[in-house]
């Protein structure tokens, strides 16, 4: 929220408030998203690695972003279309060889150091989703609106597992569903001559993708929070 306010103060110009009534229009925006996917299979996979003696660390948050088009089709209805990407990762890493590192630092008079982590096993699950959502505007005041919506999504997902000498990848696609509540702060500021709007969205997505041939499911289902900025087009 602080970042949002800072952004508003930096690039926003006070709007004169002469046009508080609703007018249909479209906006294009960029969002940043954090989601908390189920990923039960990946959790089981991480457990299997742990049982095999690896300290396998699996993330709990999937990070992503999207490009969106948001349209007010009437005073009560809003639509949204977006293309976005999400990344979920995990892995096993080891520290650099301590003895070699000591000699390295000594011989190079401290110029080089092998400090850090050596990624031994890397797991990356990536998804590209196309979403279409329709919203019902629950409340609209000058400069602000709250809406609830739902719609379908289609996801293309890949799973990449890398080890020191091998790489295994799989991909698949699947249909999903998303429902959310969004808060939009609009018409208060302008970016030059373009209307500027900020949106905060929270919801739940049901989005499971089967990796072809191996019957392995990447379950991106779970709650999400999204923050975006939009300009009028």
């Amino acid at each position: 929220m602080t970042l949002l306010m800072l952004l508003l103060c930096t690039i926003g110009q006070p709007y004169d408030g002469s046009n508080d009534s609703f007018s249909p229009g479209f906006r294009i925006g960029f969002t940043f998203m954090a989601s908390f996917p189920s990923m039960q299979n990946e959790k089981d996979f991480a457990d299997m690695n742990t049982a095999a003696g690896l300290d396998f660390e699996l993330g709990s948050t999937a990070w992503g972003g999207s490009v969106e088009v948001l349209g007010d089709v009437s005073e009560k209805f809003r639509i949204r279309g977006s293309v976005g990407g999400t990344n979920f990762s995990g892995g096993y890493s080891e520290g650099f060889n301590a003895y070699q590192n000591i000699f390295l630092v000594l011989f190079t008079l401290g110029l080089f150091s092998g400090s850090g982590e050596d990624d031994v096993i890397e797991l990356n699950d990536q998804a590209i989703s196309i979403e279409a959502q329709a919203y019902y505007v629950l409340t609209r005041t000058p400069g602000m609106s709250i809406s609830a919506g739902a719609g379908p999504m289609y996801t293309f997902a890949t799973r990449q597992l890398d080890s020191p000498n091998t790489g295994t990848s799989g991909s698949g696609s699947g249909l999903g569903f998303v429902a959310s509540l969004r808060l939009d702060q609009e018409s208060t500021f302008k970016l030059g001559c373009l209307p500027l709007m900020f949106g905060l969205e929270a919801g739940y997505r049901m989005n499971s993708v089967k990796i072809s041939a191996d019957d392995y499911e990447l379950d991106f289902s779970g709650p999400f929070v999204k923050l975006g900025s939009y300009i009028g087009i």
């Binding site: 299997m48 095999a52 690896l54 060889n97 190079t108 092998g114 050596d118 597992l161 191996d214 019957d215």
Partner: protein
Amino acid sequence: MGKILLFLLPALLLITAGCNDSTYPFQQVTDEFTFTYDLPSDGVVDLIVLNCYMNNIRTLLADSTQSSGSHSSSWDLLDENAVRVPDGLYYVRIILDNDVIETQMYEVYK
């Protein structure tokens, strides 16, 4: 010669500082190998191999009654269809009386 070594040694150390495969908690195999496992008690043993999608790709031992102690078995890197498995990570599960008592991990590559 001394000067060359002075430059070469740090470069060699820089390259190898992160290379410590010997410490990996899994074995890297390119051909048939033998592994050992310990049974804490007598019982019915199953040995299965899973791929990185947790699918059972080979049963090495099924419903075999074994006594407690150390045992060994081998895997020829073939799946149930006698086809060599693709490069990747594989897991051998030792199951005693329907409980997984040990999981061993192998990196298989050519």
